[in-house]
């Protein structure tokens, strides 16, 4: 079981993405189709986790994927893996959207936000994605309650650290620190290296 989890988290199980991105950067549409197949599920997942509304999520995911094509010539492997680059873009876009649409609504739903820690309830048939999910879920459990809530609200709900502070009744500095030490603990548990 441990071994299976390890395989699921091993970046080498997505071997060709870096090379494919190089071809996409040269305008290769077939290569982009392969990149699409590798990243569309995670992209839509990130966007949907933040936005929740399926129609809006699909629209933003589509924008993100087109943006991946458009800006691929600027991607450089020194700044991180292609998958990280794409997911960072997806999260930023989703957060931008949620902030422009829901700025006021967010504050009115603190209780609802806290109740809605990620359920990961969307079923995917991909074994790899299920294993990744299990490992992240396991590692999230190693965080303190406050760390876990802070990180979860910021990432999956698109809250700023100020909103996190408000939602969890924490001083601003503490909210900032919890986001950092929570992520550090998560990094160590997942064995992430940059």
């Amino acid at each position: 079981m441990r071994e299976a989890v390890y395989i699921g988290a091993n970046p080498s199980s997505r071997p060709d993405l870096q090379e494919l991105m190089g071809r996409v950067a040269l305008g290769d549409e077939d290569a982009f189709a392969s990149v699409y197949d590798a990243v569309a599920g995670p992209v839509l997942g990130v966007v949907q986790a933040v936005l929740r509304d399926p129609a809006q999520s699909e629209e933003v995911a589509q924008e993100v994927l087109v943006e991946v094509w458009r800006t691929a010539p600027r991607y450089r492997s020194e700044i991180g893996t292609a998958l990280n680059w794409v997911l960072t873009l997806a999260h930023r876009r989703a957060v931008d959207r949620v902030r422009s649409v829901e700025a006021a609504a967010v504050r009115d739903h603190k209780a609802a936000l806290l109740a809605r820690t990620p359920e990961f309830d969307e079923v995917t048939e991909q074994v790899e994605a299920r294993l990744e999910r299990e490992q992240v879920r396991r590692c999230l459990r190693t965080l303190t309650e406050i760390q876990r809530q802070a990180v979860t609200l910021a990432y999956y709900r698109g809250l700023t650290y100020r909103q996190v502070a408000e939602a969890l009744a924490l001083p601003l500095g503490t909210a900032k620190t919890r986001l950092r030490d929570g992520l550090i603990r998560l990094r160590d548990c997942l064995g992430v290296t940059a």
Partner: protein, 250 residues
């Protein structure tokens, strides 16, 4: 006021996109000088991406068709050193910071470490331009353009002038900092330099010492720009020695 120690603690919030636009910009400026922060930021961003990966869903087949159809008509950006995104309202500060950072690095490289460009001043100027509503969206778009190039000149008496040119957008922005106000009844007039022939490109706001101005009209192959002092209302051609002359970076 944000201190450096505060900035160090922002790595997590930055990786989670949990900072305001202003804080995001301040943090990115800090990142340029802080290797330890850059390493931690890269790791925490990669960690955040794992949170995203865990949320993977199966997209509809329709989405694939739509995206693949769309990309066949979307032109890719030219290769470069900075990331880029289309300009949209509310995102300007962040775009500017990214651009300013790149401009700083470029300036440091070409001027042997003398970073002439001062992004803080550019941001101040942009903020003022925004409050004056002087075509700010277009100014921000030029500053953030993937092919934007900058050239800075010392105008004496502590004044600095920088020109930012985007050939792709065919526009140029002049950013002035600390320029003395023109004498009463005079204005600063901007010019495009068409290989020695000066073409009027509008005026600066006489009431401001720091400002970002969009040059009127397209670059259209001009090799540089100049600023002269002219009688109010402007002149058809320069009537005085330029206070600034800047060749466009190539």
């Amino acid at each position: 006021m944000t201190t450096t120690a505060d900035l160090h603690l922002m790595t997590g919030a930055y990786a989670l996109h949990a900072l305001s636009d202003e804080e995001h910009a301040a943090f990115e400026r800090h990142l340029a000088d802080c290797e330890a922060c850059a390493q931690e930021t890269a790791e925490l961003s990669a960690t955040a991406a794992r949170l995203g990966l865990a949320a993977t869903v199966t997209p509809s087949a329709a989405l694939r068709g739509q995206v693949l159809r769309r990309i066949s008509s979307v032109r890719q950006v030219p290769p470069g050193t900075t990331g880029t995104r289309p300009v949209r309202a509310g995102r300007r500060a962040r775009l500017l910071s990214r651009w300013a950072l790149a401009a700083c690095l470029a300036a440091a490289a070409t001027l042997g470490g003398t970073t002439v460009w001062q992004h803080q001043r550019a941001e101040d100027a942009l903020r003022q331009a925004r409050s004056a509503r002087q075509g700010t969206a277009e100014i921000a778009a030029v500053l953030a353009a993937p092919d934007a190039r900058t050239r800075t000149a010392d105008l004496g008496d502590g004044a600095t002038g920088s020109v930012v040119v985007s050939r792709e957008r065919d526009r140029a922005v002049f950013v002035a900092s600390g320029m003395a106000r023109p004498a009463g009844g005079k204005v600063y007039q901007l010019w495009y330099d068409d290989d020695g022939t000066m073409r009027s490109a509008g005026f600066m706001d006489p009431g401001r010492t720091d400002q970002a101005v969009l040059l009127r009209g397209g670059v259209d192959g001009a090799s540089g720009m100049g600023v002269t002092v002219e009688p109010a209302g402007g002149s058809a051609e320069p009537s005085s020695t330029p206070v600034a002359l800047l060749g466009f970076p190539t």
